[in-house]
């Protein structure tokens, strides 16, 4: 019964995350579309995304004749996040709450780190497509943290009880060993 409740919570967190990223990516494309139609709402959408992206037109993909509301790298991260979230149920399922291994995170962070640092210090200037790809690779692993972290938080009361029980069990068994 408790496991079922826990699984339901994880599924709710998953659906919340998936719908959130779909709306987020939709808004990225909605900005230039509304601008092309002459709607003033586009200003609001561009303003929202200006808080999370520099929006330099030379580093953005263009659609409907206008730049997207985020740069190519950010678009890569968000679409990678969407891809990872789509794959999540097939890779982790809804009962496993273990976080990804650190070495996997480092491995997927290497391309975006090298590309970003190279561009930042003017060692090279990569194309928008490469920025998108490196962002996409990094973005894939992010939902595995996000969904699991939020699920852990949502089921935290039960986790704390489990932890206390494990701790007590460990201490009792060690004390018995010593005796």
């Amino acid at each position: 019964m408790i496991n079922l409740k826990r699984k339901t919570k994880i599924i709710i967190v998953y659906l919340f995350t998936l719908s959130g990223i779909i709306i987020w990516i939709g808004a990225i494309f909605l900005g230039p579309y509304l601008k092309s139609k002459g709607s003033n709402v586009n200003t609001l959408i561009y303003a929202v995304f200006s808080h999370v992206c520099h929006q330099i037109p030379e580093r953005c993909f263009f659609i409907f004749g206008y730049p997207l509301t985020v740069c190519a790298r950010c678009l890569g991260i968000y679409t990678g996040f969407f891809a990872g979230a789509t794959l999540y149920p097939f890779i982790k399922g809804f009962s496993n709450l273990s976080l990804p291994k650190t070495k996997n995170f480092i491995l997927l962070s290497i391309p975006i780190s090298i590309d970003t640092l190279g561009n930042l210090f003017y060692v090279w200037s990569t194309s928008d497509l490469l920025r998108f790809i490196t962002g996409f690779i990094w973005g894939i692993i992010l939902p595995f943290y996000f969904i699991m972290g939020l699920s852990d938080w949502a089921t935290s009361k039960r986790n704390i009880q489990e932890k206390d029980y494990d701790q007590e069990f460990l201490e009792i068994s060690i004390k018995k060993q010593i005796e």
Binding site: T43, A47, V48, H51, V52, C53, H54, I56, V70, C71, R73, C74, I77, L97, L99, P100, T102, F105, T116, L120, L142, Y145, F146, M148, G149, L150, D152, W153, A154, S156, N159, K163, D164, Q167, E168, L170, E171, I174, K175, Q177, I178
Partner: protein, 171 residues
């Protein structure tokens, strides 16, 4: 059994303030949301450093969310002087344009007045609201990543008990 979890506010304040400053300064802010994620990872690291118990991903999510909120506030405060500088720069451009007013398209002054909306108080508060929501989400993500990297340790208390048991076995 006593809960030896450290306070989350100080680590969140340090990580959030650093992320907010870096994401508010022009040119440096070209790393977009990565500063917020980085700041939340730092907050998680500081939390793990002070903690004597192993922390969960949920703890990382909370400290990351706090760091994101602080980053949003700091970012808005830091952006004010830069907005003012931009505004002055914008006024100079308008004055220069007025000298060539005859060559400019019809109704260009009205268009410029409408475009210059960045400095109003309402826009600033709306911006802060958006920042808080978005930065909190990125902060949560960074906090969980930080916990997964730095949070793997067992409690000192049980470590001591284990050491004692090893000593007892050695004897």
């Amino acid at each position: 059994m006593s809960d030896q979890r450290p306070g989350m506010f100080v680590p969140a304040l340090i990580g959030g303030a650093l992320a907010g400053v870096l994401s508010g300064i022009p040119i440096v802010n070209c790393l977009c949301c990565l500063w917020i994620i980085g700041g939340a990872i730092l907050a998680s690291y500081l939390l793990c450093k002070d903690s004597s118990v192993s922390l969960s991903a949920g703890d990382g999510a909370i400290v990351g969310a706090l760091a994101g909120i602080i980053a949003a506030v700091v970012d808005t405060i830091i952006s004010i002087p830069f907005e003012a500088l931009n505004s002055r720069f914008f006024q100079r451009i308008v004055e220069t344009l007025r000298e060539y007013a005859e060559d400019m398209p019809y109704d260009w002054e009205t268009w410029i007045d409408k475009s210059n909306i960045g400095t109003t108080t309402t826009m600033m508060f709306l911006g802060l609201l958006f920042s808080v929501v978005v930065f909190t989400i990125f902060g949560v993500l960074g906090g969980i990543i930080g916990i997964s990297i730095f949070g793997k340790k067992i409690s000192k208390k049980s470590q001591e008990v284990i050491d004692v048991s090893k000593d007892a076995n050695n004897r």
